[in-house]
């Protein structure tokens, strides 16, 4: 009798927790399906050519081009998104790897007790606050620095966005890199020291090499965050939908156009459909990043295991 009751409690517990995970999975599937459904309408219902959407350099949905279709070339935003992502990763990378090595190899106690909690605080600062700092400080710095060199610019643009994003992805890349370096077995280091190597030689030749796949994953996850960040970028990039012509001229990204445009257009118009296609593009890109991470994981496992 008691056993029957136990079995029932067990079944209920298993069922309830299983329902939670099923609900989460269902939500994600619905999300992908609905955004994809909306995003594809541009090409199926409105008849816009996928090729000209991806490679067109002019974005002006309210004007028709030679063939009578709205001009919706998304390349300016695609180029903008990739530029800010790559540039911000480039800025953040040396600092993130440097701090991770510092935490794991140079000062582990200080790292764990002081540096890592501070890093968590940096993650917790809201993205609009970073945007505000970008708007009031970094844009002004860039403008003043250019003025000192005799150039007149607004300060808005890819460079300023990349600086803001670099600060935002820094904690992500750093804490994942810390995990990656800490996972390198101690025997590897001891072996290297026993051969008479210095600490730096050990870090450079042994630790970094054997943590390389996980470090790559850390970088990709940082890039994922940079690519998808919306508000902070929108506040400092200048929001000019044109092909990026330089680091210091106003540009736009997929996310910035989405946040600005979505509220203004009625559902069902071509402009609105095209915005959903941009959202689908964002979604597809983050799926691509996940696939890359899995490929790195498999490769790393194949090499070590």
């Amino acid at each position: 009798m008691a056993l029957m009751a136990k079995a029932r409690v067990e079944r209920v517990g298993r069922g309830a927790t299983g329902a939670c995970i099923a609900l989460v999975a269902l939500l994600v599937v619905t999300l992908v399906a609905m955004v994809a459904g909306r995003g594809i309408a541009t090409f199926t219902a409105d008849g816009i050519d996928l090729g000209s959407f991806l490679t067109g350099t002019t974005w002006n949905p309210h004007q028709e081009d030679a063939s009578g279709m709205p001009t919706v070339g998304a390349l300016p935003m695609i180029a903008g998104s990739f530029s800010v992502t790559l540039l911000s990763t480039l800025f953040a990378l040396p600092i993130a790897f440097g701090s991770a090595i510092f935490v794991v190899e140079v000062a582990p106690r200080f790292g764990r007790r002081v540096f890592q909690p501070l890093l968590e605080l940096l993650v917790g600062i809201p993205s609009v606050v970073y945007g505000l700092i970008g708007l009031t400080i970094i844009v002004a710095w860039v403008r003043d620095a250019a003025a000192a060199m005799g150039q007149t610019i607004t300060g808005f643009g890819i460079f300023s966005s990349a600086v803001v994003l670099a600060i935002m992805v820094l904690p992500t890349i750093t804490s994942l890199s810390i995990d990656a370096l800490a996972a390198v077995p101690h025997e590897y280091r001891e072996g290297s020291y026993a051969l008479g190597c210095t600490r730096w030689q050990t870090i450079w030749n042994v630790v970094l090499k054997s943590a390389a796949p996980s470090l790559m994953t850390a970088v990709i996850l940082g890039m994922t965050r940079a690519f998808g960040e919306a508000l902070a970028v929108q506040m400092v990039i200048g929001n000019a939908i044109q092909m990026p012509s330089g680091l210091f001229t106003p540009a736009s990204t997929l996310t910035s156009v989405l946040t600005m445009g979505m509220g203004n257009e009625a559902m069902g118009t071509v402009y609105n459909d095209v915005l959903w296609s941009l959202a689908l593009l964002l979604l597809a890109m983050s799926l691509v990043f996940i696939v890359i991470i899995h490929l790195i994981g498999h490769k790393g496992a194949a090499k070590h295991g």
Partner: protein, 305 residues
């Protein structure tokens, strides 16, 4: 090889090692200085408003100076509480299932992939899905409940990872002991694993609360960008001025910063955004400190018993 100068080589690698250590220490110092500068700047710039009771409780102004953030402050906390009420049980269930029951099959793989996908999705995409599904399709309109569900989707991957990690960090021997005593898996989880994992879970939940509190991109299209004036004596749950009505639109602090900056019509724009950012920062700092204090306290209580 004949005239290989060993001592010169040793001098060289030792110098390299010293330089590398110096560079690593300065990188870490730079990161900490930057964080200190950011936090100090936000608090100092917003200090005049931070202690101004009229600002903290007053109603926002659209075209005049001297607007407050009373409704936004309340909305942020209300939304946070609702989000946690939905996301904590859901994540707890999902994490328990994944760590205790999940059969090693394709369905589990799909569920894990779904959560991973959710964690790398840009929050603006989550917000757009919320707009499409909850605001339009379900007909909830711009509302607190739509915002809370969108934030739940944003919060779930973080919480599931934290809780799963906490459950798996409980020594295996404790779980085995429970099972050997004749407890079912469910009973072992509830009576043995959860109490042991509680400090880590609570710390994780409070830290995630800080992230939710500052999130804006997922909210601008779900909880909306307007803050109706709230009347705390109103108990009519369908009235938009009833604070507890979950179907009213609710702008939060983070969304407020973004909105007034992108509209740019409030005359004391800088003072208000700086003040709001400082309030956000103080709350985030409080969440961070709280997470650590509660975690420590629970750990002491649970280990001394």
């Amino acid at each position: 090889m004949a005239n290989f100068d060993m001592s010169a080589h040793v001098r060289r690698i030792n110098r390299q090692d010293r330089i590398a250590t110096g560079v690593l220490v300065s990188i870490a110092a730079f990161v900490m200085l930057m964080l200190a500068a950011i936090v100090t700047y936000i608090l100092v710039a917003g200090a005049p408003k931070l202690f101004d009771l009229n600002f903290l409780t007053g109603k926002p102004q659209q075209f005049k100076e001297g607007g407050g953030i009373g409704p936004e402050l309340f909305n942020s906390f209300y939304l946070l509480v609702l989000t946690l009420l939905i996301s904590v049980p859901l994540s707890l269930g999902a994490a328990i299932f994944l760590s205790q029951y999940a059969p090693d099959n394709a369905i589990t793989a799909v569920a894990k992939t779904a959560i991973e996908t959710l964690s790398s999705l840009p929050s603006v995409v989550v917000g757009l899905f919320g707009f499409l599904f909850f605001v339009l399709y379900m007909g909830w309109g711009f509302s607190i409940i739509a915002g809370a569900v969108a934030l739940t989707m944003f919060n779930i991957p973080i919480l599931v990872r934290v809780i799963q990690q906490a459950l798996e960090d409980v020594p295996r021997s404790q779980r085995d002991a429970g099972l050997a005593m004749g407890l079912t898996r469910w009973e072992t989880t509830i009576h043995v694993l959860l109490p042991a994992a509680m400090p880590a879970i609570v710390t994780g939940v409070v830290l995630s609360a800080g992230r939710v509190f500052g999130e804006a991109a997922a909210l601008i299209f779900t909880a909306g960008q307007s803050a109706p004036v709230l009347d705390f004596t109103c108990l009519d749950f369908s009235s938009p001025s009833c604070p507890w009505n979950v179907f009213r639109p609710a702008e939060t602090l983070a969304v407020h910063i973004w909105k007034i900056n992108s509209e740019g019509v409030v005359p004391d724009l800088t003072a208000i955004s700086n003040g709001t950012a400082a309030v956000l920062m103080v709350c985030i700092l409080a969440f961070n400190i709280l997470a650590r204090v509660i975690g420590k306290y629970l750990e002491r209580r649970l280990t001394s018993e």
